[in-house]
């Protein structure tokens, strides 16, 4: 670089001046643009918030707070809920993909820990061909054993108030709605499976056919229309309870009033919204 002040039309002072001015103009421009974008977003937001009918006519999601109850004492393990869920939501039929599933805890006499049969393990269940072409049902493998106790535990997404799966999503494809349901935007999901790993309850699965994560939505398309989730609708035994915590007369409010409930893994601070009755300390 030439050091001669005659040949170089720009000296240090003028360069700094110019640089400062450019930076100032650039920053103002970016700020102005950002302000514009934010303004546009805000106007869209007020538009959307202004319509109380979101997301369906007559439904205001700020007025609801959904919660789910499971009474394990009543569950008969008929798996009608699982089949209904798969049919309602198009979940793959094989025994590796579930939005909701049922586990069986069996305490044999003289054994310290329970034997856990999970529907998610094809070896733990028997085919019946009753409702499905390839259905599942619990077999009677303990018929000749002495049982201390045994019970079924329906499992599903806990729709945590502080969901770890939402926290880890790198693209904002999963979120918690204002009525308390954790949803997945499958058009936006990139299929990285962080959320599947992050869920402490194993409630998420990866749908290989679609290349996206999937999980229970509490049948969001049903509850926003005033229906119950499919699994609650078909439960013959009253083991599954669903309702609005804002309504003191709803099934779930009564369920929480009448029972002493617990949640799964309270120690990890996820604040689940699925409340259990009648499960044992070994149920996680």
């Amino acid at each position: 670089m030439s050091d001669s002040p005659d040949t170089n039309p720009i000296n240090r002072r003028s360069f700094l001046k110019l640089a400062g001015a450019t930076a100032a103009v650039g920053a103002t421009a970016v700020e102005a643009l950002n302000a514009l974008v934010e303004k546009a977003a805000a106007s869209v937001a007020t538009e959307a918030r202004g319509t109380p009918s979101f997301p369906t006519p007559g439904y205001d999601w700020t007025k609801h707070r959904w919660a789910f109850g499971v009474d394990s004492n009543l569950c008969a393990g008929c798996l009608a809920c699982v089949e209904a869920c798969k049919l309602e939501n198009g979940v793959p039929k094989d025994p590796h993909h579930f939005r909701t599933w049922v586990e069986r805890y069996v305490y044999l006499e003289g054994e310290q820990s329970p034997r856990v049969d999970s529907e998610a393990n094809a070896g733990d269940i028997a085919a019946s061909n009753a409702r499905f072409v390839e259905p599942y049902r619990y077999d009677d493998r303990y018929a000749d054993k002495k049982l201390e106790k045994s019970f079924f535990v329906p499992k599903l997404c806990n729709h945590c108030s502080r969901p770890p799966c939402v926290q880890v999503c790198p693209v904002g494809a999963t979120y918690r709605t204002e009525d308390g349901v954790v949803l997945i935007d499958q058009d936006y999901c990139i299929g990285c499976r962080y959320c599947v790993q992050a869920c402490p309850y194993g409630a998420r699965y990866f749908n290989e056919q679609l290349g996206v994560a999937d999980k229970c939505t509490w049948c969001y398309h049903r509850i926003t229309k005033g229906l119950k989730p499919a699994c609650v609708e078909v439960c013959c035994h009253g083991a599954r309870v669903f309702g609005d915590l804002n309504d003191p007369e709803s099934d779930i409010s009564r369920f929480l009033r009448d029972n002493r409930v617990e949640v799964l893994k309270p120690e990890i601070g996820t604040h689940p919204n699925v409340y259990y009755v009648g499960i044992d300390k070994d149920v996680r």
Partner: protein, 373 residues
């Protein structure tokens, strides 16, 4: 300003413009409306069509099945503030878009695989009718580890062996309780019925014993059954060119009176000797028919017809109609489904020549224990 500095500045400015434009272009418009997600996706998810429609949806067409179900133990009740009960779609699968008329209206969720899947009723529009009750009922009622004691459970192999559950239990109202017949239907005046019966006598005979083997005897038949039959002919649920035309103008009162009259007539005893059915038909008779129609063809249920001494051709026609689905009744359709042509022929002959006069009704189901817990 030297050229290279200007170039650098232009490049930086261009980069900034491209980056900002790309951000505006690629971030969906509804992003950040409610939070760091696409607000539109909420309504997209919420707009899916429900597949499970609830039992009320079925009621609008399937009145009879619904009334059977809603009075039985599978009905929906409230227990401790909770909804308990088996809904139609538990066994029949989701109603989806059943009954489907024309082409299905497709939604985004209808993948090819889903469309090809008959369970969604998208292509056929048909509901599932479970064929094998021995596989369906144990889903809830087989005794296995983990099932709560309050649930009625049986060990299937001990309870009834390989017998189909529906041989004794109507799946819509599985306790052994047969559809109660409304009281007003039972009322009726035989004398008034006799005066109105001249038209009937042309085919069914003046004494209720018919003139042709294809027409059933009516004398001594159960009143409630006759009422139900005439009602079905009137509404067209049961089809017969002659009977539909005859029953159409009848009022409820006329039907009660006619039924009361024919029920009061003495049953004709067949003059021919009894015939013995082959082993298969005999087995069907023992395992299925006599549970409702009685051991000697005389039923003890008001809504179930007597078969002893009935016309042979009529019985065969009726069984064939049940078998092919031309005539439908929840229990009979299921029973007849398993019969072969030979079985039907032999059963018809057996009952036509059976004399009911000497024997008393012998219901087999009285020996069946309702529920082994």
């Amino acid at each position: 300003m030297p050229k290279h500095v200007v170039r650098l500045l232009v490049l930086l400015a261009a980069f900034a413009v491209i980056a900002i434009a790309a951000k505006i272009y690629f971030v969906p418009r509804s992003y950040w409306v409610y939070g760091d997600y696409r607000a539109k996706s909420v309504s997209e998810i919420a707009s899916d069509a429900p597949m499970y429609r609830g039992s009320k949806y079925c009621q609008s067409c399937h009145h009879r099945e619904f009334s059977e179900w809603s009075t039985g133990v599978h009905r929906i009740m409230r227990m401790d503030g909770r909804r308990v009960g088996v809904i139609c779609e538990d066994c029949h699968g989701p109603a989806g878009r059943h009954p489907l008329v024309g082409k299905p209206p497709l939604v985004a969720k209808d993948t090819h695989e889903r469309l090809m899947d008959a369970r969604y009723n998208l292509v056929t529009g048909k509901m599932r009718v479970p064929k094998n009750s021995l596989a369906l009922c144990p889903q809830c009622h087989q005794k296995i580890a983990g099932r709560p004691a309050m649930m009625p459970q049986v060990v299937m192999s001990v309870h009834a062996g390989k017998q189909q559950c529906i041989a004794c239990h109507n799946p819509h109202t599985p306790g052994i309780v047969f559809p109660a017949v409304a009281k007003e239907m039972l009322a009726g005046l035989p004398a008034t019925g006799k005066a109105a019966s001249t038209q009937c006598a042309a085919c069914h005979g003046a004494s209720g014993t018919s003139i042709s083997p294809a027409f059933p005897n009516l004398a001594g038949q159960h009143r409630a059954y006759l009422v139900a039959a005439l009602e079905d002919y009137k509404t067209g649920k049961r089809k017969s060119a002659i009977m539909n035309a005859v029953a159409k103008p009848l009022k409820k009162r006329d039907i009660s009176n006619l039924a009361a009259y024919f029920a009061s007539l003495p049953r004709q005893t067949p003059t021919t000797p009894e015939v013995t059915a082959s082993t298969d038909a005999r087995k069907a008779q023992e395992e299925a028919c006599q549970n409702c129609h009685g051991g000697n063809g005389v039923s003890q249920f008001a809504s179930v017809p007597d078969l002893a001494g009935q016309k042979e051709a009529y019985l065969a026609n009726a069984l064939n109609a049940y078998h092919t689905g031309a005539r439908r009744e929840s229990l009979m359709s299921r029973v007849a489904h398993y019969l072969t042509t030979t079985d039907i022929k032999e059963l018809a002959a057996y009952y036509a020549h059976l004399s009911a006069a000497a024997k008393t009704p012998l219901p087999r189901h009285a020996e069946v224990r309702p529920n082994e817990r």
